[in-house]
Amino acid sequence: MMEKKVNAIDVRNVTKIYTSGNTQTKALKSANLTIYDNEFFTLLGPSGCGKTTLLRLIAGFEDITEGSINLFNQEIVNLPPNKRPVNTVFQQYSLFPHLNVYENVAFGLRRLKKDASLVESRTFEVLELVQMKEYANRKPNQLSGGQQQRVALARALAPEPKVLLLDEPLSALDLKLRQAMRFELKTLQRETGITFVFVTHDQEEALTMSDRIAVINEGEIQQIGEPEQIYESPSNKFVANFIGEANLLSGVCKTPGENGVCELDTGHELNLFVPPHIKQNDKVTIFIRPERIKIEKSSKDKSQLSISEFTYLGNAATIQLKSNNQLINVNLPIEDLKVFKKDDYVDIHFPKESAQVID
């Protein structure tokens, strides 16, 4: 049975312009998005793309220039941050250095004037949740980065926010810890049932943790969708390049339409869906993931493609194919490692649905 989705956050036509002196910077340009209740939603983009700005607008740390933000159908734009039922996990954790772990976590509850007994039970409950109960009396500077991260998480979860905002919370951790925390965060989100809005520039983080992702670039939302959707059918070149590895090959449309044909500059003809706005003999860009391409041995007279680079990765290899002016990246499965070597001439194949004409 399909559950009815409840809108947790509605971002409508939100524009944010920073003014300093005479220069104006448009950090967000008329952004629209809906985040559902109980969702792990990720704002993904390169640094300076406006993702953190959007998060800060939701938290209330920045004044909105235009547009509206609703939280469970209640307008929050005019509320100060301390009146918004959302909490933030900050990038540098920003734990209060003069308070111990317990007081840090209890901070929000105390400000909400909760009963002393409730403050205590809830504080220990969340400390338990992030496995930091035995550190309750430590000061933040006596904790490791990972432990501080957990306390920051506990502190933001303690007041039971309707939405938890996470601003690149894993970026300060080392790789191993980061990978472990990804899993923990995801589990935590499922267990608490709180809507998570997660900001990151790390596409791997976004793909592994999110229910849905919004890819943002230069203040504009490029695409919103589930991780698979975003990876498999990116809506434009930026998304294709930003998420994972992508081949963007130039070619010419031979036959437009649903069962169209395009010819790559390498001479290969492809059957694929050609969007209606593209006409015959239009130049097109074709997107295909490196792992979708299969190669087989060929000879110099049959193919212009040769292996120009061969990079061994341990569990696989990436190779670069070269024709006159195009480079094609291919991921080679482990069992084919021995079959090919540098300067071999090869031919390529891929399933029709894995290639896509892209704007």
């Binding site: 740390f61 734990l95 209060f96 250095p97 901070f107 400000r111 909400l112 933040p140 500077n141």
Partner: protein, 302 residues
Amino acid sequence: MNIQGENKTQNRILSLLPLWIVIGIFMIGPLLVMAVVSLMESNVYGGVHFKFSLSGYRQILFDTNLFDEIEFNPAYLIIIARSFMLALAATFLSLLIGFPAAYFISRQSDRVKNILIFLVTIPFWTNLLIRTFAWIIILGKGGVIESSFNFFGLLDEESSLNLMYTNSAILIGLVYSYLPLMVLPIYASMEKMDLRLLEAATDLYSNRIELIRKIILPLSMPGIIGGSILVFVPCLGAFIAPDLLGGGKKLLLGSLIQFQFSYARNWPFGAAMAMFLLALVILVLIFNARLNRKHREYANQK
């Protein structure tokens, strides 16, 4: 390795030698002279008889009456207590004014900040004596305050507000003189403060007052303690403001000491008083060190 270690210690001692010489000549030396003077007999024409005596110290608490009997004399204790209270009051007032001022400055843009800090330090460019005289013009009979009261018809020409020569006048003078010493350290610790902590506190439902009480105040505590010491200590020994604005009617510790050296020609007693003041200050500093130890943990952390 051991040799190298010894060399290091030697180098450290040698390289600090000039500093020790400076401290010795300019700080410890005069203090020792004071300590020696405080243990001598007074000479009515100024200076001292080089003869050991505790009379300087005895005079702080006891007096010799007409019948050559030694009796308890609380006069100087009262002066000490009065000085202490006045210095405390001045410190408290400076804190009351200095804390919001420092907070205000720390929240300005870099350019405005620099200008404001510059303005705070401007009074130091003029002699303290002259600046205190300016307060006589402001507070005195027919001074700036009274004449503006006259102007608005709040006060008739004949009467006076009697602002001068009161404890309040001294207090105003002291606060005015040492306020920058309160503002600057507090500003320094606020400047260092991570503004994201304020965001975090607001995010966790703090209103303005809670923000100040729970975050800003505790985090600027090292500056507050430092500033309080910097104001309290000179206030305790101040004599310019008490003399000029208090009219010397009610003696304070600083004026008393100065008086013993200049007019009363009782150097041992003045020196003994100075040593007593020094002891007081050291007590305050020890108390401060205790307070600071608690705050150092997070003051050093960033």
